[in-house]
């Protein structure tokens, strides 16, 4: 049956994993946004060969479940890196790479495919008349990007980027398959010690929902604040 006495102690233990999880999520988010923007730019500009490569990349990573991608990089990445090391003549052991780096790389790869879609949508919503106007006023390309394009595209993309932030938070829970301890893995470890499984999982559920609520609130505030100024 559901034990309420254990809740406080479990909560304290599981909350200990929150900073690590948030840290990894905050690392993955900008990385995947940058990679995704590059992909979106390639598609927006219609760069000949790269465009097809990005297409293939997106098709593959969207068709394969994230667990499988994580396992593939867990078994494939160190070996590939080792091969690279020996080819370049560097004396290092790639198999000592910590698991959390593998997880970060795998999730960045997966989420970048989704970020590319989000940013492409935001780019398409951008009115090309504005870039024409900017060019006619003598803006250079970087000025156009910094002063006209980026502020508007970023604003349009905020709601979807918030969703992808939550996708990253959720994806990190798959890290327990390769022994990375996040909120979910910590709740499982806690439960394994005292056999109160449901209690630990309910606490984790509440923590995730609270984090989601806070992230959404921050994004809403940010969007409102930015929208007033423009």
């Amino acid at each position: 049956m559901f034990e309420t006495d254990i809740l406080l102690q479990d909560t304290r233990e599981i909350l200990g994993a929150v900073p690590v999880t948030l840290g990894m999520a905050l690392l993955i988010f900008p990385l995947s946004a940058i990679v995704g923007s590059l992909f979106a730019l390639v598609e927006y500009r219609r760069v000949p060969v790269l465009r097809e490569l990005v297409m293939v990349y997106k098709v593959i990573l969207k068709g394969v479940p994230m667990v499988v991608v994580i396992f593939l990089s867990y078994f494939g990445l160190p070996a590939a890196l080792q091969f690279l090391y020996s080819a370049l003549g560097i004396d290092a052991n790639a198999h000592l790479m910590p698991n959390w780096i593998i997880l970060v790389i795998a999730i960045t790869g997966c989420v970048a495919a989704f970020q590319a879609e989000i940013i492409k949508g935001a780019l398409n919503a951008f009115d090309t008349g504005q870039s024409d106007a900017a060019y006619s006023l003598g803006y250079t390309g970087s000025q156009l990007f910094r002063r006209v394009l980026f502020p508007q595209v970023a604003l349009t993309a905020i709601p979807d980027l918030t969703t992808s932030m939550m996708v990253i938070m959720k994806a990190l829970s798959l890290g327990f398959a390769i022994e990375v301890i996040d909120i979910f893995a910590q709740s499982q470890l806690t439960a394994a010690l005292n056999y109160y499984y449901l209690e630990a999982f309910v606490i984790a559920v509440v923590i995730y929902m609270v984090i989601a609520y806070i992230v959404t609130q921050i994004a809403d505030r940010l969007e409102q604040a930015l929208r007033i100024r423009t």
Binding site: G63, V64, P65, V67, F71, M169, K170, L174, V202, M209
Partner: protein
């Protein structure tokens, strides 16, 4: 490694994966219909509960939802004095149905709300009953808007079915792990590659089916025709 021997063994577990997927698809669809109706209609207390349910389904990792279903459902059933009938498979079906229902209701509700308000008014002024209005006017337009989102949610569902092995359902992933352990974990990378191909094919099939319906949608044809006509007109002018 013998791929030709491995693939039939992996495919022998496919029926369970598909069964879980289809159950979650059907049950999730019904749940989503109920949830979106309640959220649009704003019934005082119930709608708030449904809001919480939807945010649970969307913000909690699916692995965690599966574990909650696996450990929580027997407790819930025990409250009503029934015997515990939850095998991992049933728990996986219920857990994924709840996830899919919550996720899908966030596709359905915006699709319904995106239909122009004037369409409702026009149907009402022409004396359509509520049912006729939904089936003949609002429904087809909402389906057209919501179909891409529905396709995405089906693909996410297929991805998430790969997680049911963690609560002990013997699906394709679990079988792959068995095969790997039998080979003393020598060919892990290769086995996961085969898995990746299997899941890609599943997603491709789902995508093709959705795409077929998207192209067949009665709203698609006139639009596409109209734009090509406009383009032809412009070209002839130029």
């Amino acid at each position: 490694m013998d791929v030709s021997a491995m693939i039939p063994e992996l495919l022998s577990a496919l029926p369970l994966t598909l069964a879980i997927t289809f159950t979650a698809m059907v049950a999730g669809f019904c749940l989503a219909l109920v949830a979106s109706t309640l959220r649009i209609r704003r019934v005082p207390v119930i709608s708030n509960l449904v809001d919480i349910y939807v945010s649970y389904a969307r913000s909690v990792p699916v692995v965690l939802q599966l574990f909650v279903a696996f450990y929580g459902l027997p407790l819930l059933v025990a409250l009503f004095g029934a015997a515990d009938f939850f095998s991992p498979n049933v728990a996986a079906m219920v857990g994924l149905s709840l996830y899919h229902g919550g996720y899908l209701s966030e596709v359905m509700r915006p699709a319904y709300l995106a239909v122009d308000r004037g369409q409702h008014d026009a149907a009402d002024s022409l004396g359509y009953t509520f049912r006729q209005k939904i089936f003949r006017i609002v429904g087809p337009q909402a389906i057209h808007i919501g179909l891409p989102g529905y396709g995405n949610s089906i693909i996410y569902l297929i991805h998430n079915v790969a997680l049911v092995m963690y609560i002990g359902a013997a699906d394709v992933m679990a079988t792959a792990h068995l095969i790997m352990e039998r080979d003393y974990n020598q060919y892990q990378f290769e086995t996961y590659l085969v898995l990746a191909v299997i899941y890609s094919v599943l997603c491709l099939i789902a995508w093709l089916v959705i795409r077929f319906f998207e192209l067949r949608s009665p709203m698609q044809a006139p639009e596409a025709k109209a734009t090509t006509q406009i383009r032809h007109a412009l070209i002839s002018n130029a």
